[in-house]
């Protein structure tokens, strides 16, 4: 069991619903303030996006944030160096695409992530079948979170869930990141299906954008939610860290109310 899993299980087992905000790195000079703000708002862990040139699973908001960051000259090493410089009381995960790790070298990247205090990674384009070399380089220091989609089923569902480290990421809908006016039906089903095969911590993300939607997801049995585009959009609109803190706070109280 990775350190990340231990921490999140403890929270979950203590009855707490998990709020996991996603923020794109390097969108503004003081972007790390957003991480601190998210923590202050009541986040239980935080996902930091490292921008990639070809974010094929992201919607326009996160695409645009990534382009902004890249346009500002961001690179993975610089971002990790900045993460090393801040001190958060909650676990940090990195979310990005596999090529950045591949290019850096897997062992080297694992080392750099660990040094930066990152405890887990989410690589949407690295399915379990291809994850072997990376997991070998990352374990056990860094948890590799697996995704379960609304149509992952049967033997495969059990296998991927079993392999997931840190927590299990339930993808809320068949689609890419981005806010939706209404929660997809699939977002409530996916957690239930994961729960049926495992007692791992489950967080549902993609298409979870508002406190109401977050509450709905946990009410349906998920241990927590991942919220990204709703936050990133605010950052793109020039929101101060305070706004992020308040929005995360809103998620916090919504899931706490249950």
């Amino acid at each position: 069991m990775t350190g990340l899993e231990t921490k999140l299980r403890a929270l979950r087992d203590g009855g707490r619903k998990l709020v996991v905000p996603y923020l794109m790195a390097a969108t503004t000079p003081g972007w790390t303030e957003y991480l601190l703000a998210a923590e202050a708002g009541g986040a239980d862990a935080i996902e930091v996006g490292i921008p990639f040139s070809d974010p094929s699973m992201d919607g326009v908001v996160i695409q645009r944030a990534g382009e902004l960051a890249l346009g500002r000259g961001a690179n993975p090493f610089g971002i990790l160096a900045e993460l090393r410089g801040i001190s958060l009381g909650i676990p940090m995960l990195v979310m990005t695409y596999y090529n950045l790790f591949y290019r850096a070298g897997l062992d080297r990247m694992a080392g750099m992530l660990a040094e930066a205090g990152v405890e887990g990674v989410i690589l949407p384009d690295l399915p379990l079948e291809e994850a072997g070399p990376w997991i070998e380089a990352a374990s056990p220091g860094i948890a590799t979170v697996q995704l379960i989609s609304p149509i992952t089923e049967g033997e495969r569902l059990a296998r991927v869930v079993a392999a997931s480290e840190g927590f299990v990421y339930g993808v809320g809908l068949m689609g890419i990141t981005g806010e939706r006016l209404k929660l997809a039906e699939t977002a409530t089903g996916v957690a239930r299906r994961i729960k049926a095969v495992s007692d791992k911590v489950v967080c549902v993300g993609v298409g979870v954008s508002s406190p109401e939607q977050a509450a709905e997801v946990v009410a349906a049995g998920s241990d927590g939610v991942v919220v990204g585009s709703a936050l990133v959009r605010r950052v793109l609109e020039g929101a101060r860290p305070q706004v992020i803190e308040e929005f995360v706070g809103g998620l916090r109280s919504a899931v706490d109310r249950g």
Binding site: S53, D54, E67, N75, N99, R103
Partner: protein, 389 residues
């Protein structure tokens, strides 16, 4: 595993390939793999595929001995005439196959990415032929430089969706197609246009393009009684080259893939994982994919199909590159000496033969796959040569 045989169970050609797709897409690519394996082993499927290629798409395309150009270059040059295939390029071979698969999968909609628009036109064509809906993703830059093809797609009933992210060319169209696909897997088949993407696509597309090389090999043998010493094709994703090479890989022919200088994924790229495959890509030191730069929209792609990376790694094929200026010269030379206006993509292969003409041995024959015709490029060529249009 024989060279250019079946990929390994992980979808790899040697070190390259694989299936780097997000979990939501995994069931779809697995289902596609299974369906293709069954279909390809089913004589009725193959018959239908070949019947449509014959009766509808104009196969076999001729193998043409370019006598005047041979004479002026001092090279015995043969052209496999994919420019005569319906819609104007080899792309039709692949989409007919994939549309049949889509039908077998019970899908009612095709989506596709396109660069030059040839694959988009081919997909729109197959969609019309099979009564499927069709949506084609195309970089904004390409929408502008391939206006004729955009109009053709629309006339065929397809919706063309301009992609404004990233470099606004082919690689971004691929991203957008994948984004779309994940949201409509139940109804839609993603009809990838080259030997790229996650397994089983590189394998499927090569098999559907194999007809090019197999025909050419039979035709060349019938015409000359021997095998060509050189087999040359342009490489974008690499489907026309893969299809061509498949017909000659077991012969002693030297196989040459020709990339654009500004998009030489094998020549100047490094190994990476993008668009679902482990292959060679132009990328910076951090792994960000770089924009390719080529006068030909269809080769304006920073990656290459994994099987080509493999053929290069094992030395079975070599990959060379030519400049935009050499390509424009080749278009003019071929047009004036043989009455054939090649696609800018195809002209890369011809340009390489022209430049390297001293290199071929006496009595060597060079077979070039002319992957498509140049009508779509008239405006680009006119602008590049200052002729206006």
């Amino acid at each position: 595993m024989s060279v250019m045989g079946h990929p390994d169970p992980t979808g790899r050609f040697g070190e390259f390939g694989g299936r780097f797709v997000p979990e939501p897409l995994m069931p779809a690519v697995i289902e596609l793999e299974r369906t293709f394996e069954e279909a390809w082993a089913d004589p009725a499927f193959r018959d239908e595929y070949h019947r449509i290629l014959r009766e509808y798409a104009g196969r076999p395309t001729p193998l043409y001995h370019a006598r005047r150009l041979s004479e002026s270059l001092g090279v015995d040059l043969w052209l496999k005439r994919e420019d005569l295939a319906h819609t104007g390029s080899h792309k039709i071979n692949n989409v007919i196959g994939q549309a049949l698969l889509a039908q077998r999968l019970g899908k009612t909609r095709l989506i596709a990415e396109t660069g030059a628009g040839q694959h988009g036109v081919a997909t729109a064509t197959a969609a019309a032929l099979f009564g499927l809906e069709c949506q084609v993703f195309m970089g904004e830059v390409d929408v502008k430089r391939q206006a004729l093809n955009v109009f053709r797609m629309q006339l065929l009933g397809a919706e063309v969706v301009p992609v404004s992210s990233g470099s606004r060319t082919l690689k971004d169209a691929v991203n957008e197609a994948m984004r779309n696909w994940v949201s409509c897997l139940e109804t839609s088949h993603y009809c990838i246009g080259s030997v790229m993407g996650p397994h089983p696509y590189p394998y499927i597309v090569r098999e559907f393009q194999r007809v090019v090389g197999e025909e050419a090999s039979i035709q060349f043998e019938a015409a000359t009684g021997k095998s060509p010493e050189w087999v040359v094709a342009c490489v974008g994703g690499g489907s026309n080259a893969a299809g061509t090479f498949a017909g000659f890989v077991d012969s002693s022919a030297r196989l040459v893939g020709v990339e654009p200088e500004g998009g030489a994924a094998i020549g100047r790229g490094v190994v990476g994982v993008v668009h679902g495959m482990e292959s060679m890509f132009l990328q910076d030191e951090f792994g960000q994919v770089e924009e390719a730069q080529s006068i030909s929209a269809g080769l304006d792609y920073p990656g290459v199909g994994p099987e080509h990376a493999h053929l290069a790694a094992i030395g079975r094929a070599s990959y060379e590159s030519v400049s935009d200026a050499e390509v424009l010269d080749a278009v003019r030379i071929l047009a004036r000496s043989e009455g054939i206006i090649p696609a800018l993509e195809s002209a890369h292969a011809v340009a390489w033969v022209i430049r390297e003409r001293e290199r071929f041995g006496d009595g060597d024959s060079v077979l070039v796959t002319l992957s498509g015709r140049g009508d779509k490029d008239a405006e680009t060529i006119a602008n590049a040569t200052g002729a206006g249009l």
